[in-house]
């Protein structure tokens, strides 16, 4: 084995190294998952209670108080839960990965490995929470005696989309967090902001297709779809709820496009900053 270290050299072997360090990646992800459910006895319970409570509250607020109705014959609680599923994952993954580099500062300053392992690992950890919540969704469907159809088999595709968007934003946030140490105060705000910009408690059909403003025709729905979570949430609803929720290919493609841009730019920015992580962390 012959290794050459030169300025700028690490760039060239990056992807090969990523593969070479797969065992470390697996063991770090395993560590995070073990610790997550070991540290708090209610670790698993917590992963269930949070989405359950928000689903109940949202169903009451939007359905009973705001008198919104779900499209078709879907119970409103299922409409909310189907959106909560990817949203909770997205929110957790975003805040976990934004802190992941700082949390592993001792490793980063003491050993070499492709730093990309760390934020990916934290998104995966959040994915375990997601799987638990998925069980909750199944329980709710049984409760409402709601049987999904063939569209369910397309769910993994939307999971990948959710994963990719969380990963893209997470990369940006964690790199910015190392660079600007007060950035972490902004992250909860971004999460909250994103929550109100995402159709968790209501159906996207509530957002008008067109919006007339001083004589201008604004394609409001398409602009709304710039939020990658719009495509993800509507995709989840479509595949889980027998396609009774609206589903626009144009909106989905915008979300997919935004996600791809986020991931690509996230990787670019992360790798640009990565070289100095050990020096500034």
């Amino acid at each position: 084995m012959h290794l050459i270290l030169e300025p700028g050299r690490a760039e060239k072997n990056y992807w090969r190294d990523l593969w070479r360090y797969r065992e470390l990646f697996i063991i770090l992800a395993w560590r995070d998952i073990t610790v997550r459910y070991k540290q708090t006895v209610i670790g698993v319970v917590w992963a269930v209670i949070r989405p359950l409570l928000t689903t109940i509250v949202f169903t009451v607020v939007f359905s009973k108080i705001a008198k919104l109705s779900a499209p078709g014959a879907i119970p409103y609680a299922l409409l909310v839960m189907a959106a909560n599923l990817p949203w909770q994952f997205f929110a957790t993954a975003m805040s976990e990965s934004s802190n992941s580099l700082i949390g592993n500062a001792n490793l980063i300053s003491k050993i070499y490995f492709p730093r990309l392992i760390i934020p990916v690992g934290s998104v995966i950890t959040s994915f375990v929470d997601f799987l638990i919540t998925l069980g909750l969704m199944a329980a709710l469907m049984i409760w409402f005696q709601f049987v999904p159809d063939w569209r369910l088999f397309l769910l993994p595709a939307f999971m990948i989309l959710a994963f990719a968007s969380a990963f893209g934003i997470g990369l940006w946030l964690c790199a910015l967090n190392v660079e600007y140490r007060d950035f972490r105060y902004i992250v909860p705000f971004i999460v909250q902001f994103g929550f109100f910009l995402s159709p968790v408690g209501f159906s996207t059909t509530r957002v008008p297709e067109h919006w007339l403003w001083h004589g201008f025709d604004i394609p409001a729905r398409l602009i709304y779809s710039l939020n990658p979570m719009v495509g993800v949430i509507e995709g989840f609803r479509w595949s889980l709820l027998r396609g009774e929720s609206s589903f626009q290919v144009s909106a989905l493609s915008i979300s997919v496009f935004v996600t791809v841009v986020l991931c690509a730019s996230g990787i670019w920015y992360f790798r640009k900053m990565e070289r100095t992580f050990a020096d500034v962390i």
Partner: protein, 428 residues
């Protein structure tokens, strides 16, 4: 292959940017960046240029070149901030060099800290796998050596206990055990010996010795000169980011120690009016002079040395008694000595006292001077009128490379005789 060097380093340099703005922070805050941008809007461009000037380049390493052959054990010495850690960080790929090139022809494992990545919530067993993976072992490799690691650490009973319940001793033992079972071609070790109690350090050093005898290439950074001399054949000395010596370990270490301790033992005042003292007596100088054949002023544990005091007596009618207290760096008075009360005529005098070798332990010492007048009145006290360091340059090599905890280090003779044997060999 052209050469058999396993590590070759050419013109290696590492540059850091240091900002002189306000207090030096290790990281930037977005708040400050934004505030500066806004400020910039209202200022002219001239001040912006001034702001940029306040950022300065700092070379933590500069033009470092050396080669290490397969199986060599090389010590890296230098004061704090000399660039040792930066060099190790570059070699272990934690940070990239700014200039130059490094060729590594073998698998590298670096041990910059014992127990990197240990997680307190995980059990001992889990942490062995975690730490092993972090140090670059594969799972199969860890599984194969697992029993050996646990036995070395002596924590069999607590394998399934979270390490947060471990005593600090158990924790360090387990961490070192994992590290000690690494089998890379190149091992980079930084100050791991600074942890644990004396007993454990002994064990670590023993293991290090095994490793270095096993044909592994080792780079070893330490402030423990005895360990460096015992383990390494060759030493690199870094000062201010530059490599200033690269040859056999003994002369490099001796030079290094001399650079450290050469200057602090001479104090001299030439003018009797301003020299320390009182109206009866002024001190001209107190010197410590090693009595060795060499002309360097290094005092090792074996070196006999003398204390020379020159003084002026200004009033012959007063009876003066000089007392010296020799204090070690823990503030313990190791010995007191002095010359008896007697009348000195007015004038310039010199008093000499010989101290034998093999008396003091290694460490820092200071000399306190008391002058007593007429047997009952202390007329002059000066703390630390001279200070010096006794170094251990491993002339007396034992299995133990740390510093003995004793105050003095005389060589004492032991007679061991057999009074009666009970073994079967008596029948022969």
């Amino acid at each position: 292959m052209k050469n058999d060097a396993i590590i070759s380093v050419e013109n290696l340099g590492k540059k850091y940017r240091i900002s002189h703005q306000a207090e030096r922070q290790r990281y930037t805050a977005l708040r400050d960046v934004l505030a500066n941008k806004v400020k910039g809007l209202f200022q002219n461009r001239k001040s912006e240029i001034e702001n940029q000037k306040s950022v300065e380049d700092f070379w933590a390493l500069q033009d470092v070149s050396f080669e290490v052959k397969r199986g060599e054990v090389v010590g890296i010495i230098g004061r704090n901030g000399a660039g040792k850690s930066t060099l190790l960080k570059i070699l272990s790929r934690i940070t990239e060099p700014s200039t130059g090139r490094v060729d590594l022809r073998g698998r590298v494992a670096s041990l910059l800290e014992v127990g990197t990545g240990f997680h307190p919530e995980l059990t001992g067993r889990e942490n062995v796998f975690l730490n092993g993976a972090i140090l670059g072992m594969s799972r199969a490799e860890i599984r194969r050596k697992f029993d050996e690691i646990v036995a070395f650490a002596e924590v069999e009973k607590f394998l399934d206990t979270p390490v947060k319940r471990y005593s600090s001793g158990m924790y360090v033992r387990l961490a070192f055990a994992v590290a000690a079972h690494l089998e890379p071609e190149i091992l980079i070790v930084d100050e791991v010996l600074a942890v644990g109690d004396a007993q454990f350090q002994k064990k670590c050093l023993g293991k290090m010795q095994d490793v270095s005898k096993g044909g592994r290439t080792v780079l070893f950074v330490s402030h423990n000169m005895v360990a460096v001399q015992t383990l390494c054949h060759r030493a690199l000395w870094l000062r201010d980011g530059k490599l200033i010596a690269d040859r056999d370990v003994a002369p490099v270490v001796a030079d290094y120690l001399r650079g450290f301790h050469g200057q602090d033992d001479i104090q001299q005042w030439d003018d009797p009016k301003t020299a320390p003292g009182n109206d009866a007596l002024r001190i001209r100088s107190v010197r410590l002079i090693p009595e060795t054949s060499g002309d360097d002023n290094l005092i090792s544990m074996q070196t006999p040395f003398r204390i020379e005091t020159e003084f002026w007596v200004l009033d012959a009618s007063r009876q003066l008694h000089f007392t010296y207290h020799l204090l070690n760096d823990q503030g313990i008075t190791v010995l007191t000595t002095g010359f008896p009360m007697q009348v000195h005529p007015v004038g310039h005098h010199k008093a000499v006292c010989h101290l034998p070798g093999n008396l003091l332990n290694s460490g820092g010492y200071s000399l306190k001077l008391l002058v007593v007048e007429n047997g009952n009145k202390v007329t002059y006290i000066r703390e630390s009128i001279a200070s010096f360091t006794v170094v251990d340059i491993a002339e007396r090599k034992g299995s133990w490379m740390g510093r003995e905890p004793s105050v003095v280090r005389p060589i004492l003779n032991w007679n061991v005789e057999t009074l009666k044997t009970n073994s079967s060999s008596t029948h022969n």
